[in-house]
Symmetry: C2
Subunit: 193 residues, 2 copies
């Protein structure tokens, strides 16, 4: 997706060996105009797929996922990282290991929002080691839902996430694919959209 | 805001003495159509205020805040509850006490996204004891930004948040105001919009 790749080139910052910082438009400050374009791109790709729900994990995925859901005319669900006092329904849970934070956390979705009749599009802001996406896939499979695909805003193609997800038979559609970093510059691969 | 109040009546659940559960359209599953209406309502109220940024706290505030920002044509910033590896800039922080979780957490915004030239609209999903809003106000004041108002989706008017915010001189604009709960039903006060 050209608008996204231009924006990464313009405003992204490479930190160290393998970290891309995009806090000025995606992970801390959010550009709603770009989010709208992202929503349209995924919706166009999946408009004939009969999607009934868009699912993400809080928090950076929430806005792109909501725009995709709005464009597809379906609800968005964000998996929660912490249980709160209102979560008194049956929960579907998965353990997600974070390589950057080096901790395992439990993510959860109320079972009542998912059923075997659902066809789900997973959306997330980043795909690196794939642990978050695999956790969501576990939860959705436990609900018996069909998973149409995993839509990613920025994929770090030099890490194992994409192949781990594809090994489950679920297609990955990434708007920007990063082959690596060279001297502080981002090297892109051809994106899926 | 009539569409929101109807939705709370239809899909909200009262838990115990003072908890309203709206996980089917706001805090876990999200209805983008309602979020768009919420965005329009706040944008209409603040369109002549010269807002330059919309600010919220992750995660349930992110989607309504993004829609307000899109309608106003400005960026949205979500304060982060946990520091991550990419947050290597100077941070503005505030301690926020949660009465429901009984813990104090630190919320943070990178200073580079805020300046004394900014006029900010704070958006959040709930206003109860006001600690989250007061934390954001502290951060924005530390940046020298002007605060045009605090826009709230659902205000629990029987708790102290609204008066604590108004005591700082900043107006509170709530789309739904809850006077209390009686026999599992929500009793509304007149809303601000």
């Amino acid at each position: 997706m050209d608008a996204l790749i231009s924006r990464i080139k313009q405003d992204g910052t490479v930190l160290g060996e393998d970290i891309l910082k995009v806090d000025s438009f995606l992970t801390h400050q959010v550009d709603p105009v770009l989010m709208r374009q992202i929503g349209r791109a995924f919706a166009q790709r999946f408009e004939a797929s009969g999607i009934t729900k868009v699912v993400t994990i809080e928090a950076s995925g929430n806005v792109p996922a909501a725009y995709v859901a709005e464009e597809l005319g379906v609800p968005m669900i964000f998996a929660k990282k912490a249980k709160n006092v209102t979560m008194n329904d049956e929960l579907l849970t998965a353990e997600v290991y974070s390589f950057t934070k080096k901790i395992t956390s439990v993510v959860q979705i109320s079972r009542k929002f998912l059923s075997a009749q659902d066809k789900v599009l997973i959306i997330d802001d980043f795909l690196a080691n794939g642990q978050a996406a695999l956790g969501l896939i576990d939860i959705l499979k436990a609900a018996g839902a069909e998973i149409a695909g995993v839509g990613i805003v920025i994929e770090k193609s030099f890490q194992s996430g994409r192949s781990l997800v594809e090994d489950t038979g679920i297609p990955v559609i990434s708007l920007a694919r990063i082959a690596g970093f060279e001297q502080g510059q981002v090297i892109f691969r051809e994106a899926d959209l």
